[in-house]
Subunit: 356 residues, 4 copies
């Protein structure tokens, strides 16, 4: 998904989009192991998650039935909304994170946490003030982040982050507790994807990176407003794009970029396991074969600053690009004359075309 | 261009792209007034600017000849590169901003300033350190920006920023000297586009907003590395996108977004006055009819934080989106059952399809 | 729609797609005039037409309710399918064109007629044999069409056909009875769109033009098989494309062409009155400003042969294109050297790139 | 290329586009075997072929130089155009097919033959009359084709035609002389791609299939007019598309279709061996995994009539599609109500949006 540069409506593709299909796959495996003929989920009838669960089920296990209580009128009569559900949970001492005091809802997974509903239902509401300091979970605010920048270097192989380098990496791994290095290469500590995400979430969160506040377009047809924290994913996206700039052919990138909105829309709408997502993925994967190398980013109070990139597969040539003399072998400036003349030919024809 | 959401290869579309066609247009008007039959420019044969100048000329004045000394072998023999040219300028006391001490080249216009060449020709070079503090012109670094955030509210009409609101606006206008308000509306001070850009450049620059460091793909076929400052443009792009999220139809946005890479590539490559750019513009302009309203952003040490948006043309409906009960008239959750079932139909058919 | 080159899944865009929104608009006008608060339609719950009716209603009159008996379980219990409905109609002497003898269904409008269901439900069934001669309504079969070709010349203005020229035009107009010329220009007889369609349907039908047999993808999620006759529309599409080739800029055409699948899908799926269709239309309309001129086609036993095109807005230049000598002013072949060299530059970089 | 549905500007992608890269590859292999350091070609400086040759060389053998005499001013002074070249060839008894009597130029390969220049330089010239009967090489005209239709059935595997069935197949193979069957399957005679093309060219040519007359847009910036015969390729394209309609998922097809103009443009412009063509190919190849099965077409005087398609990978379900009753298990018409309601939701919001 990082490889696809998955921006949805201009922002980083939200984590739930990909978490739901994964959960559906896990549930289906369980259901088949148990001999079940149906799966139930608690997603409301208004959101995207129901769609993501159920389209994933359709694609992976079309014989399983799906039960969605929130779309059952009798159930809804008893629980018209979140308020009643929270009250019921409190009355029956069922622990839930939402409360009438914190009326926004939260959804957390490895990639992000989202906040919706409650006071966020007013799009003019400013969620960056100290009043909402307690809402945020994965990140400190830029204003409370450390005054000192921190560098992290990321090693990529075929579009995937596989290693990290940063001064206090050992200490972070110890603090996280559930992450283990899988090896060393060229001075980088290698991790499985889980480890990469955990460490980058830690670093990004510490520096206030990855918070967004957006109005988005649910697949079921309505606009909604949400606030998200995606610290590690935001770093990955920026670093990956920076390495692509060095190693990916211009026109391959132009084609891939033109498909980002479609790819992101498919993922957002729940079509992760659909044939068209797999067709797009084949193109994206093809473009990533040379996206290997190193990226250095500097984290500081909400900023991810590009601070260098290099790769054995670099397409950048100092001999060609230099503004100093003596490289006519690599690039003959006279060629630009013909290049421009023929690109101009149809423009001149249009300019001379009789206008209606 | 802001309306088109003009990101080129994932980053904000550089200002030179649009400055060059404007300059070409100005030169052509002069040439015609003077009765000249040719225009000369000093762009090198390696860059994008020569293309932007000359394609603009082809589209606007196909009868004019173009003279480009840097693409003349005799001229180049005398001046093989920037080093010799700087030496010549120094020897003849011609004032130029590039020097052997500051070997990077600069290009400045209302929208941005760019830095290339020199030590930047190594893509692994970190340009964010205090060592290069003096290179930057339009912005302070995030690390040296004020510790206190500042809000600015922007009024848009049909996709264009027309007014600003911020605590110290009067003082900024006084300090800038060359900007005048054109009126008042709803508490906003109205400005011509020049004023909007000047004030936002001031504010963005003060807060370290809009610096980027990228490897890009020149139209003439090479990769190059550049550092840019675009303080006001970066604020405009973020604010405009935020208002679109509230006021633009989902599918119109999806189509527009799929065309951003093409639009941006055309502008970057110099096809501003080309018929295909005008065709795309017709679509973009159509999508902007309802992009009117207010956006509040918070500037802080390199961050542009979305902090609220509202519009009389809002497509957001709290009644539809709410997670509280009692709004079945606006949205009947039962509808999601059929919606998902028919979206799933072809996925089930694919799942059941015999696989090769 | 012709201007958009509206091919859906490789075939000419079917007429019902555009007829349904037109009908919906007419019904809404009636409903509003009558003070009605709902509209009913007889489309089944399986097809595209229900969607086209109801999305048009949503876009034009969101306050009106829609009643669709075929999606009412009680109604369907009484009439499970077409067979029962035909039987009912026969029993109550209601005249319908479908019958148990002709079990396929027909839908006719100015642009086309469609056939579905019945024996056509087997996609391997060959519908081109004499056995189905009686099914076809608007066209003779290519095999039974006249042995002599017939020319027709079409006059276009900004992408719209406005005039016709053909040897027996006066006789055709007389035979049609309901068509009147609106003027003369440059030897062409001018007609309103209705007249253009009627005459071209007559000519195309006579020469066996415009029959197709396809499997298509309904918006509700299923594949279906249909046979269509679109005689006049098929001529228009071929002639219009031919004139565009002469008068439309290459890159404008490339962008428009890349949007044809989306435009056609929107129209097919019922989004004629949707904002995204209007945004695309703005682009298409912009590209049509110079699509004025004449096209000559030759009709013969199912063939539409291009037989000449000319226009005052032609972008074709014999001086530039000629393979004869003496035109170096218009096109200098040496320019191709630089043009190719710079287009090759990134390919050489890729070729030299270390491969993983 | 057939898999990509390669239509360029609405017409079947011309054969030279793919023949040139193949020739370049062959020449490079020879050059490397011979230890040559350059390759020469005789393409003019005005056409597409020089670009296709040289971009292929850049991508495959960036170290080889290219010599193009037609772009050498000294050479051109001696031979300003085709007329002088033909005269020289006649004077020196060099056999060439172009002559002053047949001033059009021809280019033939396995996929097609093209005609350009001469009287064809007038786009209004009608090339379908008996006067030009002798120009055509690969096909009879529709008007002179047999009065009796002929069926051919084509067996596809993963998007490639691999077998043929037709009444007189054995006789055709004998007549062609250079084609051999490679096996039998399910009543089909299997052939290598060369055999498929040869047989379909024979059949298509006999029935007047695959002639086109177009104005096209050369990559070097000019419009030109050409007449082409592509009998076998036109059959393949029609048959392949028909099988896709039965076996390919709707949304995969929509994405692939949206990329056809780009794919075709790349091939036309000479970027066959470019990384972006390979990226697109990965997507196309992924969509072809289930495009296996049989297509029956009927050839008659220029027509290719679809006359049935079937496949073990069919996504068509008669149970779902039928208009007869009793299949509510497969498709519940009530689902359409919710499906339409949620698709209508944003249209209603737009309809109610305050308009500027």
């Amino acid at each position: 998904m990082i490889q696809a540069g998955a921006l949805y409506e201009g922002r980083y593709l939200l984590g739930t989009s990909i978490a739901r299909p994964c959960i559906a796959k896990g549930l289906i495996d369980c259901a088949i192991a148990e001999g079940a003929d149906a799966i139930a989920h608690g997603a409301t009838g208004k959101g995207n998650d129901q769609v993501r669960f159920e389209l994933s089920m359709a694609a992976l296990a079309p014989h399983l039935k799906c039960i969605a209580p929130w779309r059952n009128a009798a159930f809804r009569k008893e629980f018209p909304g979140r308020a009643e559900m929270i009250a019921y949970a409190e009355a029956h001492q069922i622990p839930v994170k939402a409360s009438m005091k914190k009326p926004y809802s939260m959804d957390r997974n490895l990639l992000h946490i989202s906040f919706e509903a409650g006071m966020l239902e007013d799009p003019w509401y400013d969620a960056t003030t100290p009043a909402d300091r307690d809402m945020y979970v994965l990140s400190t605010s830029p204003e409370e982040a450390p005054d000192k920048a921190e560098y992290v270097e990321i090693l990529f192989e075929k579009g995937n982050a596989i290693g990290l380098r940063c001064d206090r990496l050992a200490a972070i791994v110890t603090e996280l507790g559930d992450v283990q290095a899988t090896g060393e290469r060229d001075g980088y500590t290698l991790f499985a994807p889980y480890g990469i995400m955990r460490v980058l979430n830690f670093l990004g969160g510490a520096h206030g990176v990855g918070r967004i506040d957006i109005v988005e377009n649910r697949f079921v047809g309505m606009k909604s407003r949400g606030v998200y924290e995606t610290p590690g994913g935001t770093i990955l996206l920026a670093a990956h794009r920076d390495l692509e700039a060095l190693t990916m052919d211009r026109e391959s990138m132009a084609i891939r970029d033109s498909l980002i909105p479609k790819y992101a829309q498919l993922v957002y709408n729940g079509f992760w396991f659909a044939p068209e997502r797999e067709a797009l993925q084949a193109l994206v994967t093809q473009t990533q074969q040379t996206v290997s190398g190193e990226v250095r980013v500097k984290l500081y109070k909400g900023n991810i600053m590009n601070a260098g990139r290099r790769s054995p597969f670099s397409l950048y040539s100092e001999a060609v690009a230099t503004m100093e003399g003596g490289q006519e072998e690599a690039y003959n400036q006279d060629d630009a004359t013909g290049f421009i003349a023929l690109n101009a030919l149809r423009l001149k024809a249009s300019a001379r075309q009789k206008k209606p």
